[in-house]
Symmetry: C2
DNA sequence: GTCTATACACCGATAGAC
DNA sequence: GTCTATCGGTGTATAGAC
């Protein structure tokens, strides 16, 4: 029984590759990231890279899928009695913090070419749909709690949650260097959610 | 005296080129837009394109500069007695409408490579700084009017105004096809500004 | 499965005829 | 100034030795 050493090593390398992809996606975006960049950063040859992932799109899909799974896990560990609005704030803050640590890729929305290929990726789409369902559920619950303004439809809030993860405002604020990371998180969460709350 | 017919024709062609660039930037973004795309869309040869703009970066800079100038003109024509907050809402709605009409490029923030070259472009930077000053002035005025929440610094609002112009939420909502363009504008303006208003 | 080497396509920019 | 043709460079992906 158990997993062979070889297999463990293989998996560890794949994790290392995805780590590298995450950083590169957040630094350069999908279009500008090259397979050479990835190989160099991991410290293997480009040819070897293709033994793990058969295309650049598959590589990015794997990185984004891991991110979405982590999002679900983060939501799962929240206490069930936490109000839906607070859960939404929490997951927004969580994704912003990930981004500030340099580990989170820009969302697919930044690259039209990547978007298309992701739609055809079953693994990615499965997790993406689960995350989407989860977000919609939370928004609906917050709505029925009376926490949200009737002025803005549910969809706008859900899409906004995705969008804030790749909001250039974060980059601007980092470069501006006036606010600490926690201040950036607080300000963006406050400003973002504030627009959706009942007054 | 006056401008020769030749010169007029030349200028008209440059305008047509920039129009094409605007559309292509919004569809594909800077990195995926090729000079062949631009030439094809305008209906001229690629070689001819380089007689007007000596590089791809110059081309994008010209398009973005024209956009920023239009932003200033839009602000200039607002009545001076309009409250600063209303002016901010107006310019946000204006840029969202431009985007919904397919005429506005993603912001430079989507491409790291473009960002760098823009910093070195005097024409662009001059206008960009003027727009920035204008935005900061309006935010400061809104602040002194007591219209803004003390919870969020001025910079965050200014950067947010830029960021909303390339917010993928818009793309999501268009594809979703549940809201009309005006509903999208209203919802985003309401949700965006709502997070910054005093409560 | 890792490497080096290379095929193949695309793109930005230029050359040169008209 | 417009065109066609092409150069030089780069990037994805593959081939083949070990």
């Amino acid at each position: 029984m158990g997993i062979s050493f070889k297999k463990q090593q293989f998996d560890a390398r794949e994790e290392a590759i995805i780590d590298a992809v995450n950083h590169l996606l957040s630094e350069k975006g999908f279009d500008l990231m090259t397979m050479d960049d990835v190989a160099d950063r991991v410290g293997i040859a480009k040819g070897s890279l293709y033994k793990h992932f058969s295309s650049k799109e598959k590589l990015a899909a794997a990185a984004l899928t891991r991110l979405l799974k982590a999002t679900l896990e983060e939501l799962d560990q929240l206490p069930a009695e936490m109000p839906a609005v607070e859960q939404l704030k929490h997951i927004l803050a969580w994704s912003l913090r990930l981004r500030l640590q340099g580990g989170v890729p820009h969302l697919p929305s930044t690259s039209v070419s990547l978007q298309r290929s992701l739609m055809l990726n079953l693994d990615y789409m499965t997790v993406a749909l689960r995350v989407n369902k989860r977000f919609h559920g939370l928004v609906a619950k917050a709505r029925s709690d009376g926490a949200l303004t009737p002025e803005v439809p549910d969809d706008v809030l859900v899409f906004t949650l995705y969008s804030r993860a790749c909001d250039p405002t974060v980059d601007f604020l980092i470069r501006d260097n006036k606010l600490s990371h926690e201040q950036i998180v607080d300000a963006i969460v406050y400003a973002t959610m504030g627009g959706f709350l009942a007054r």
